[in-house]
């Protein structure tokens, strides 16, 4: 590591900083400005914020977004942990399984939603199979205005399918970093498998778990493509309403308020996690 006093590192960093100032900081300020100015006319106003907060669709969207996150994240973390522990036993051919699990990792939400539609649509595979087995007479409709519950669960399944691998890979990396010597020591003390998991694996996996959680929570509040394609606005969500306000209703300033709500939630979550992480490290 070079530590001589030189301008080089600053010069190397300069383009990035300029770029982020122009295309990140400036737009953010502009968005803030849009939030507090009217769509037409001049001056400052809280009317946009008021309009959003007094719209029941906003609260519905907030509720749905939180609900989806609250169901999806624990499921993903639990499944990913099980998968990682299973794969980490390093049975013969386990790398193939790692490869298979990671396939959805690079898939887009649009693609995953269409795959899900292919399975759950009225003429999709589930209905075909059930019809063939004579278990049902009419196709089951998983999507529709009075099927918001099944829409919700199809979204959950799709998101779990698509994004569990992300958590999995973080946890697997974490597991692989745990030194063998811990377990050897535990053997000396005659720990059972369960005790090893509780007293060694979990505490040492904590940083990975935390970063996986942070990341998934951030992404969960930005959920968009899967919901938009599968449920339209049957299940309003924050990002979907941002999109709807912006593209269909052309209410840019209202859309900016929605965007800001997502940003504020993200910042809040990051802050909570970061202080939590810090205090955990200091202990």
């Amino acid at each position: 590591m070079r530590s001589e006093r030189s301008l080089a590192p600053y010069l190397l960093f300069m383009p990035t900083l300029i770029y982020l100032a122009v295309f990140l900081v400036y737009p953010l300020l502009k968005a803030l400005f849009m939030v507090i100015t009217p769509e037409e006319g001049t001056g400052y106003t809280l009317a946009n914020i008021y309009a959003v907060l007094s719209d029941s669709t906003f609260w519905e969207a907030l509720k749905n977004t939180i609900l989806l996150a609250a169901v999806i994240i624990p499921l993903q973390v639990f499944l990913a942990l099980m998968l990682a522990l299973f794969v980490n036993t390093k049975f013969r051919g386990y790398m193939t399984i790692v490869y298979l699990i990671t396939i959805p990792l690079a898939l887009s939400d649009v693609s995953a939603a269409l795959m899900s539609y292919n399975i759950f649509s009225p003429s999709g595979y589930i209905n075909k199979i059930l019809l063939n087995l004579n278990l049902i007479k009419h196709p089951i409709y998983f999507f529709g205005f009075n099927a918001t519950t099944s829409e919700f669960w199809v979204i959950v399944i799709t998101e779990v399918w698509r994004a569990t691998p992300l958590v999995f890979i973080i946890l697997l990396a974490g597991l692989q970093m745990i030194g063998r010597e811990y377990f050897e020591a535990a053997d000396v003390f005659g720990f059972t498998k369960f005790q090893k998991f509780i007293y060694i694996t979990l505490p040492l996996l904590k940083p990975s778990l935390q970063s996986a959680l942070l990341l998934r929570t951030l992404f969960a509040f930005q959920i968009f493509g899967v919901v938009w394609l599968l449920a339209g606005r049957d299940i309003p969500i924050l990002a979907g309403e941002t999109f709807y306000q912006q593209t269909e209703l052309q209410q840019y300033h209202i859309a900016a308020v929605y965007g800001f709500v997502i940003a504020l939630i993200s910042i809040l979550i990051s802050w909570v996690y970061l202080t939590f992480l810090k205090s955990a490290k200091e202990v």
Binding site: S123, H138, Y141, F143, G144, F145, G232, E248, L249
Partner: protein, 421 residues
């Protein structure tokens, strides 16, 4: 010396050829119509291809939503860098663009051998200025799978529905839909309720005019309340997957529904594929009459459009009787020139045309035009959908929601500077 001449000639040739290649006319045609995949395919793959063959003009077809198009046309006008040569849009949209002075007058374009239908011609002249050339027209009708006639309610005959007589009412529709659900086990009446479907047109152009005589003006009148009470009953017999359908032809073809309401263009594929199975019928009437929308689509030219001559040629091509029949055949938009009407072949198109004619010649018609609300158009339609969601699906207080929405609608018309209709 000879060598030089040959080389010189060749260089010249290359220049000429490349110059020709560069200047091979290509124009942009933006449209808010012909968006669904199949329609776009026909537009690009059939119509514009044959136009290019005939005229040597390549046309780039861009499907935009109205808001996208308006912001684009105004931005181009402002910056002076106009790329669009021809605009295809609804009467209401063109009206707004004309009022913002974005369009040139299209009087005197050579359009031989055709007579435009007089009502459409009348609509295309706005404040004394000929703003667009009527291109296509359409409406929204009902399609019935003949099997559904088995479930007609007592006292209502096929003839009542086809003609239509005053017995073909919204109450009768409710009874019919109820019969179908009870006798087949699942709801068999469908509406295109997906975010991109045209369900809002049903609400503001059919339901409310039939109950109140207006789209928005009498929204919270006692009859307006009745309209929503009616929807609360009807929803039990609407196929629940409706909220995933943006167009009704697929569910009709798959037999998921036996009776549906949609835009003529969007039910067309079903009738073409199985003409023996379906009939097109007029919509029912309510206490105030038989409310329905007439959709007029026009072709306009932006003020500073490039390649105007090519644009006129395209307009000539698209309004020719033979092209108009093709459009009807493939897309389901009806001709705007009289000469085309006689050329409609038998089969699917006859079925469509018969239903549309029956509807438009019904004496109790209450014609609704899609209002010109400019940028508030989205909020306008969203209001109807929102009331439906709140009042009908979520069972919120009817009176409260309806009067709040009535106020909002009134303010939208005021903000847009359009008289409430």
């Amino acid at each position: 010396m000879k060598k030089f001449a040959v080389i010189g000639l060749m260089v010249l040739l290359v220049f000429v050829v490349s110059a020709y290649a560069v200047s091979a006319p290509k124009i942009y045609f933006v449209s808010t119509q012909m968006h669904p995949a199949g329609e776009r395919e026909f537009m690009v793959g059939t119509l514009l291809k044959s136009f290019a063959k005939e005229s040597g003009i390549n046309v780039e077809f861009l499907a935009l939503t109205y808001n996208e198009m308006l912001s684009r046309v105004s931005a181009e006008e402002k910056t002076g860098k106009v790329t669009i040569s021809v605009i295809g849009d609804l009467h209401g949209g063109l009206d707004v663009m004309a009022s913002r002075n974005l369009l040139q007058e299209v009087k005197g374009i050579p359009l031989p051998n055709r007579t435009f239908i007089s009502t459409l011609e009348k609509y295309s002249v706005i404040k004394g200025k000929k703003v667009y050339v009527p291109w296509m027209q359409a409406t929204y009708v009902m399609v019935v799978n003949k099997e559904a006639y088995k479930y007609l309610p007592n006292g209502l005959t096929k003839e009542d529905v086809r003609k239509p007589t005053e017995k073909w009412t919204y109450e009768a529709l409710l009874q019919w839909a109820k019969n179908m659900k009870e006798k087949t086990g699942t709801p068999k009446f469908g509406l295109p309720m997906a975010p991109k479907g045209l369900f809002h047109r049903f609400l503001h152009g059919y339901l409310l005019p039939s109950f109140t005589g207006y789209e928005a003006k009498e929204f919270d009148s006692p009859n307006g309340i009745k309209a929503w009470e009616y929807m609360r009953k009807l929803v039990n017999y609407i196929h629940p997957a409706s909220s995933t359908w943006a167009a009704m032809s697929e569910p009709l073809l798959k037999g998921e529904v036996l009776l549906a309401w949609d835009h003529t263009a969007r039910i067309k594929p079903a009738i073409v594929q199985q003409p023996d199975k379906f009939e097109v019928i007029p919509v029912p009437r309510g206490p105030a009459g038989r409310g329905y929308i007439v959709v007029a689509v026009g072709l306009a030219v932006p003020k500073k459009a490039p390649q105007k001559e090519a644009a006129y040629k395209l307009i000539d091509y698209l309004t020719r009787p033979s092209t108009q029949v093709l459009v009807l055949q493939h897309v389901g938009f009806f001709p705007t020139v009289k000469e085309a009407t006689g050329k409609i072949p038998t089969g699917a198109l006859r079925i469509l045309a018969r239903g549309v004619t029956a509807q438009s010649s019904s004496p109790d018609s209450v014609i609704a035009m899609i209002p010109n609300l400019g940028k508030y158009g989205g909020e306008f339609t969203n209001t109807y959908r929102k009331v439906f969601k709140k009042v009908v699906l979520q069972k919120a207080s009817l009176q409260k929601e309806v009067s709040a929405a009535a106020k909002l609608l009134k303010s939208l018309f005021e903000k847009a500077g359009t008289p409430i209709q």
